[in-house]
Each structure stands twice: as C-alpha cells, then as structure tokens.
Symmetry: C2
Subunit: 350 residues, 2 copies
C-alpha cells in the first residue's frame, strides 16, 4: 500500500535513511514528557490484557468531550472506528466530498457499499448546493473537517445546515475530525456540539498528541442502535495497553495542549506567508498543521524526488481524487525545519 | 462482553482491587527485561506511523518460522488475523470442534458464514472419524491446537491426516496455534511444517512472551490468493509501534524462551499431580500452561465466587460450548502462587 503519506519506510528500505518527514501530519513536539513518564511508570500494564470494555478510557474521553461514556466508541486508531462505522451503519450508498483522505472509500467498499464522489467547490470550499443536490441519491455523506489534504475547515453553521437537511431526509452525516484540535477554539466548532442522532464524529487522539505509533481513535455518537451494532461486531482488545494509558492521560495535559496551540497559531500563518514568496507555486491557505501546494510549473513526482535528494520527504498529493499531478502536501513543523524545507523547495522549483 | 477470561477489570470496578488473576493464560514471567530495555531505548518510535507494510516485522517472524515474509500476515493480536481470515476465505460453512475459544464462531458469523459444531471425543481427544464425517457438509474446519480450554494437543500426524483428507475434498483447515510455544519441542509439531495451501496457521506472540497488552499476532499461509485478499481488506497501521519493536525482538530472546520452557515443563506436571490430590475435582491432563478442571460436587459459578473471596480470580468455564456448569479453568503460574491457589481451591471444594 502506498496511498498514504508517512511511508518513510519504503524510502528507508531504498537506503534513504535520514529523510526529514514532511509527508505525515503529526505534532512535531512528539510525545509529551509527562505522558511518557506516566506510560513508563505503568509499563507493566502490557503484561495484562486491556479492559475488554475500555470503561476508564471511554470515561476519560467522555469527560474531554462533555458527553457520556456510552456515546464513545474507541478503536485501534481512527481507522478501526471508521471501518466499524461503515460495517455497522445502514444504507447502501455513500457520498464522499473530495479531494479527501482515501480510506473512506476503501472502508465503504470493503463494507459492501457503493461510493459516489462530488468535488469541493472553488478554493476547495464546501459547495452546499451541490452537496444537497447529490445527497438525494445517497444514504450517508462523508465530510473530513478540517479536510485532508486541503486544510480547509467548514464552520459549524454550515455543518448544521447540512445535518438539518440530511436529517429531514433520514440520511446520515459522518464527520472526520481527526485534525480538529489543531483548529483555534475547536471546542466551540466541533460537530459533536450538535448532539444529533444522524451525525457520527470521528476523532484521532495520536496525531495532535504526537504519538501516531500508539494507535488510538474514537467516535462520538448519539445513535444507540448504531453504537450497539458497532460494539457487537468489534474485535476484542483491539486497543493496546499503552494506548489505553496514553489516552487517559494526554487529553488532560494542559501544558502540552497550550504549547501546541501557541506553536500552530504562529507557525501556520508564518509558513503560509513564506510559501507565498516562493515563485511558481500556489500554497492553499490552511487552517491546520499541513498545507496543500499547487505547483504551477512542475510535476509533483519530480518535485518529490528532488526534495528527497535534499533529504526531505514530502507528500505527492496527485493521487488524491480530483487533484492533478501538480499538487504536493507539506506538514508544518518547528521553525528550524520549516526554514530548511522552504529553502529546499524554493531551490527545486526555481 | 464477558465471554472471556482475563476480565479482571469488571471485578476491579466492583471494588475487588487485588485479585490474583488465574483466569487468563499468560506467561507469568511477564515481559523480558531485555525486550523491555529495547522498547524503552526505541520509545520515540511511537512518534511515527509504523511501516504500513510491516516488512521488517514480517521478515523477523519469517525467520523465526523458517519461511518467507510473503507467507506471513500480521495483525493487532491474533484476533485481527482470525477476523481477517474469516472475511477473506471462500466458503460458506465453518465446522468448529468444541469446547474451544469462542471468537472463531463470532468471527465466522460476523463474516456472514454459517457455523456448525462437533464435540471433542472421549477425554477431549480429537475424534477423527466424526470430524471427517461432519466435514463433508462444510468448507472450513477450525481446530485450536493446543486447545483452549482443554489443554489437549493433537499431534502432527493426526493433523496431517485431517489436512490430507480435506485437501482432497477442496476444503480448508484453520489451526489456531496461539499457545503452541508452551508445548515441548513445538517446532517439530507445528502444522506450519506441512506447508500446505489449504492450511492456515494462526499464532499469538504476546501470550508466550508475557505481554498480551501489546497486541501482536500473525498467520502463516501458502495460499497466495488468500493472502492477497487478506492484505487487500486489512486496515492500515493496525499494529502499534511498540508491538512492532517487541515482535522483532522477543522471538530471538533465547534466554527468556529457555527460562519459560524450564518453568512450564516442571510446573505443569507438578501442578497437575497436586490437583489430583484434591478431592471432589477431576483435573484434565494438560500439555500447556492452563488446566481444565471438572468439579464433581460443585457449581463453577459458586466456586468462582468463593475463590474471589480468597483473592483469586479463576475462569468459570461453563460458558464454553459442550461444557456443563461444573468446569473451571486455571492458569499455571509460578510455584509460590500455584501453592496459594491449590490451598484455596482445596478449601473451597471441601
């Protein structure tokens, strides 16, 4: 499988050992020192099976999201929750707004559903009219918000209008908020505030908290029947003991959360403005911790290869549906590395 | 879900904090010090996504099993591999020899297959004749070997005869060897030695190596079409970074393996003989690290409750198919704790 960013291993196997990874969108602070300490202090938990019902973990996540543990379903990464949802939700036809993360399509198809796509509108904004029109023939609408790879965020009013419309037609809305914690004031902007039976909200815990190797995601839902079905088909003990400890800890680590907030709010803006100064590329304004870039004179594959020569792995974004072969995606990291990437990119597109 | 052993969390939630867990079957040595050291030294791996293809991990497992990495499919615990197999294998009807682990039935049913059972023969031995007779109407036969909860092991000659017969009829054999490393000279006795296209061998890595919280299992197969299907529907990054590091390390930790071997070979025999001395119970002779016990005068639920009062959690085995409500299962641990359990059990069945 080579559909995703972050596949630095393939390049390592080709002998490119020391690439700086700008292809995957992880918090550059890495794991919180406090959380690491707690994991190490409780390391002997790996000598036991995790709680098959993950009660404490779901309680912690519920507290973080102001809901009840019964509204929380946990998974081995957001991916497991996505796959469980697609296997559990009624309805045959899924509408995906693209370009977006490729696993929605895969999960829907593996669950035996039919998938149709519509394209984001001008400037990768959500075209509500087109969406509502196309949704008539579908049962489930999938929106990634903030969207990967475009970095756009659709505000709660817009999401609520879509949810209202879909509710009247007895249709479902699946919202992937894997990156939402990188959005300023996200707690006021999440679709989970709507507490709607027809909305399912997907979250990842390990991107924002800099530990994707740990694998932990969850879903929030107010649809009891759906939650029951998801629990009934899930594999036992799918979340490992380290993820369980980390999950219960990281979400309450205020100093890490604040540090990350300060970093992303200053760095995102700065990085975008610096990219604007580079000729022959068009960065797409982003609300989160990665940025899509249109290459006006180059091919993405070529630029990826030339960046690798400079020791930097970037994401060739041309395999996202509706993107042409001149899109790349960059992570946003710390200033020192961002400067390095800007310099290299300016050289290779010259 | 309360079908399984090891659910010490439910009892903890009821305020029973310090139970000695004899309900789950894990190596009592816990995690190897050497492996722990390697995990801690590579702890920053959790700040990255794991290799989506798990090439190095599959190579290590292949080396451990004298096969090629292309014969290895890895999963988030043996459970994920079992579920993937059931979703990928062709055939509608699954024959399960019971009493046995309950997840085969669940995995088959979730994959839309029909399940039929036959019972083990006298003394929980495999009744080949009955098996072959019943297999006529089935597509896939599931055998747990060594079997949970009976502790019986069917030798390779027997498995080969069954595989031969099934191969002629174009049927599949799924063998769960999650506990095989606790068997003396297991490398000569594993079904993977047969290298048959119609045999799939399931393995767990974290029971024998005392770290079930880490979640790592794998399958061995010589059926390219099946392997391709399994890879095509698997969820990406399902194995966490700690499991990946542990998996590459533990299987080569000879001193841990030898220590475990010495312990199980002496303790198993001793524990069985001591159980024979207790009146009103019939221990079933075992080849592995747990033992099934028939209570001749008591009910399993009652004995479980009375053992909890003594601070020990045992497995009420009465919910295994074909077992009556007077079976319990005990793990085998270190001598000190085994003595404690023997003493308590003798008291409660008096």
């Amino acid at each position: 499988m080579d559909l995703h960013g972050g596949n630095i291993y393939r390049f390592k196997r080709e002998g490119k050992e020391k690439l700086l990874d700008y292809s995957s969108n992880i918090n550059p602070f890495g794991i919180s020192e406090r959380v690491k300490e707690i994991i190490l202090r409780n390391f002997e938990e790996i000598e036991r099976y995790p709680d098959i019902d993950y009660v404490e973990l779901r309680e912690a996540i519920a507290q973080y999201n102001d809901c009840d543990k019964d509204n929380v379903v946990v998974g081995n990464g957001a991916t497991e929750v996505l796959f469980l949802y697609m296997k559990s939700i009624e309805g045959k036809k899924v509408l995906i707004i693209a370009p977006t993360f490729s696993e929605y399509e895969r999960a829907a198809e593996i669950a035996g559903k039919e998938v149709v796509f519509i394209e984001y509108g001008r400037g990768f904004e959500l075209d509500e009219e087109r969406l509502l029109e196309k949704s008539v023939e579908c049962d489930i609408v999938v929106i990634c918000n903030p969207n990967n790879p475009t970095g756009k965020f659709h505000d709660l009013e817009k999401i609520e209008r879509v949810a209202n419309y879909l509710e009247k037609k007895d249709k479902k809305l699946f919202i992937d908020e894997a990156f939402i914690e990188f959005i300023t004031d996200w707690k006021k902007k999440t679709a989970s505030n709507l507490r709607r039976k027809n909305i399912f909200v997907l979250r990842a815990l390990t991107k924002f908290f800099g530990m994707p190797g740990v694998r932990l995601g969850y879903g929030l839902s107010y649809d009891d029947k759906l939650l029951e079905k998801m629990h009934s088909i899930r594999e036992p003990w799918s979340i490992n003991a380290i993820a369980e400890i980390a999950g219960k800890t990281i979400i309450f680590d205020k100093s890490y959360i604040n540090k990350t907030k300060e970093w992303i709010e200053s760095e995102r803006e700065w990085f975008y403005r610096e990219l604007l100064k580079i000729e022959k590329i068009t960065p797409i304004e982003t609300k989160i911790n990665f940025i899509l870039i249109e290459l006006r004179k180059h091919n993405a594959k070529e630029i990826q290869e030339r960046m690798i020569e400079k020791g930097i792995l970037i994401r060739d974004a041309s395999n996202f549906k509706f993107l042409t072969d001149n899109y790349i995606r960059l992570a946003i990291k710390d200033r020192e590395n961002n400067i390095k990437v800007l310099k290299s990119l300016a050289e290779v597109v010259k």
